[in-house]
Amino acid sequence: MCLALPAEVVALAEAGDMATVALAGVRKEISVALLEEVAIGDFVLVHVGYALHKVSPEEAERTLQLMEEAGVLEEQLEEIGA
């Protein structure tokens, strides 16, 4: 449960600090309450349903690719109930 997945913010909810992220073609509602500010197109590290940090698109790409190669991505997607 220590892993965090990088994902792209594709929509922001009007209220409640919620956002939709896209990840390997899957969409998921997460909370962005822990970030100072967040915009559509930002990449964030998602952990237990919360964005913990922003990351650069390159970092996100790099991490996702490695996770995919190692077969971790699939396990993680399962965990988030995608």
């Binding site: 220590c2 997460i30 309450a33 590290l45 237990v48 349903g49 913990l52 970092e59 190669e69 965990e79």
Partner: protein, 385 residues
């Protein structure tokens, strides 16, 4: 494209391994504790240990949140579901951890307790909103990465007046645990556990920053290098630790500056400080009572504190006899030192917490077959095939 990248990475890994070999001095010892279960997992998954020279060893630390929770606290969670008839919401990792009499939350659920797996504290809030006539308790576990999400949920519950929601708080603190490991007699006097440097956790540090490690790098004169989760990160950070040791330095360095800053996520820290305060002491599996190592809810949030709302029996329960998890969590033993390893105890039938979580040392040893000796690459491949 993919292959080129893979090749480049393998090349980089080889290059880094070569550097580590060249720079690690034969006459010295480099025992590096990776605190975090995420690193333990990466080290095993990618076979990083096998790329290291003889005198560079990883010592697995207590940074697996599922592994360090004492049995009494899991019993407490079951009591909430059974005796107080609450809906217990828990992260999936906790479901299979054996508690007293080898009962787990999964078994309790099978026996009719209302235990629900959630991915996020937001899911737990939703369950509370949808079941206003029932008590809903969130079984909060984890280090500094899961604590802010719990704080957010508590504040939200307060704002919404969600009176049937409460939190059974078991959040623990990384710096306190590292300090405790360094102060243990096994490290200080007996010398049975050798720790020359630390790899600091990635995501925990993205929240708390690198600053909290400065005190004990100085006080205990051990280098701390914060490392990302990728195998290359772990190797790069190991090289940085080796260099510090060679040069007689003991500083906090940050290999993971892509994400970790000195100050960390200040918004998350402020939320945690608003909702939680330190417990004077908290029991850890393997480490025993550790002073100021865990959090509880502050007075203004007492209404959302399951431990105040329900009276729970406070018990200290012994681990399964001959399960070596406690010693493994202190770095004093290896999973293969346990008589039950791979025999009575496997991931399908775990006897101890270290075999349940994929971040636990026993599960990592078992899954990636790193226990097969001799660990030469060829022999290992044959053994695995």
């Amino acid at each position: 494209m993919k292959y080129i990248d893979e090749y480049r990475r393998q090349d980089l890994a080889k290059g880094l391994a070569g550097r580590i070999r060249r720079e690690a001095q034969e006459t010295r010892r480099y025992h590096i504790m990776e605190f975090c279960g995420g690193h333990t997992h990466a080290i095993f998954r990618y076979g990083v240990q096998d790329l290291m020279p003889e005198n560079v060893k990883f010592v697995h630390g207590p940074g697996c949140p599922v592994c360090v929770l004492p049995i009494g606290r899991i019993d407490g969670a079951m009591e909430l579901a059974h005796k107080h008839d609450a809906i217990l919401c828990t992260y999936g990792d906790m479901m299979r951890v054996p508690a007293s009499k080898r009962k787990s939350l999964l078994k309790a659920k099978a026996e009719g307790a209302d235990i629900r797996m959630v991915y996020s504290t937001q899911d737990a809030l939703k369950i509370a909103r949808d079941n206003q006539e029932r008590e809903v308790v969130f079984f909060a576990i984890g280090f500094e990465t899961t604590t802010p999400p719990t704080a957010v949920a508590i504040k939200q519950a307060q704002a919404e007046g969600l009176e049937n929601f409460s939190v059974y708080c078991n959040h623990v603190l990384t710096p306190a645990a590292i300090t405790h490991v360094l102060e243990s007699p096994e490290v200080r006097e007996l010398g049975t556990v050798a720790i020359d440097a630390f790899l600091g956790p990635s995501h925990v540090s993205s929240v708390i920053g690198s600053q909290p490690y400065e005190f004990f790098a100085e006080e205990f004169q051990r280098p701390v290098v914060i490392a990302g989760f990728e195998p290359l990160d772990v190797m790069q950070a190991t090289l940085m630790a080796i260099r510090q040791l060679n040069e007689g330095r003991h500083e906090v360095e940050n290999e993971y500056h892509r994400v970790v800053t000195r100050k960390g996520n200040t918004k998350a820290q402020a939320l945690v400080a608003e909702v939680f305060e330190l417990r004077r002491s908290f029991e850890w599996r393997g480490l025993g009572e550790v002073p100021y190592s865990a959090l509880k809810l502050k007075e203004p949030f007492a209404a959302f504190d399951a431990e105040r709302k329900f009276t729970l029996e406070n018990r200290s329960v012994r681990d399964v006899k001959s399960c070596e998890c406690p010693a493994i969590l202190r770095g004093a033993k290896k999973p293969t030192d346990c008589k039950l390893f791979g025999k009575a105890c496997t991931p399908d039938n775990p006897m101890g917490s270290c075999m349940v979580s994929s971040e636990g040392a026993c599960a990592a040893y078992w899954t990636y077959r790193r226990f097969v000796e001799p660990a030469t690459a060829n022999a290992r491949e044959e053994a695995v095939a």
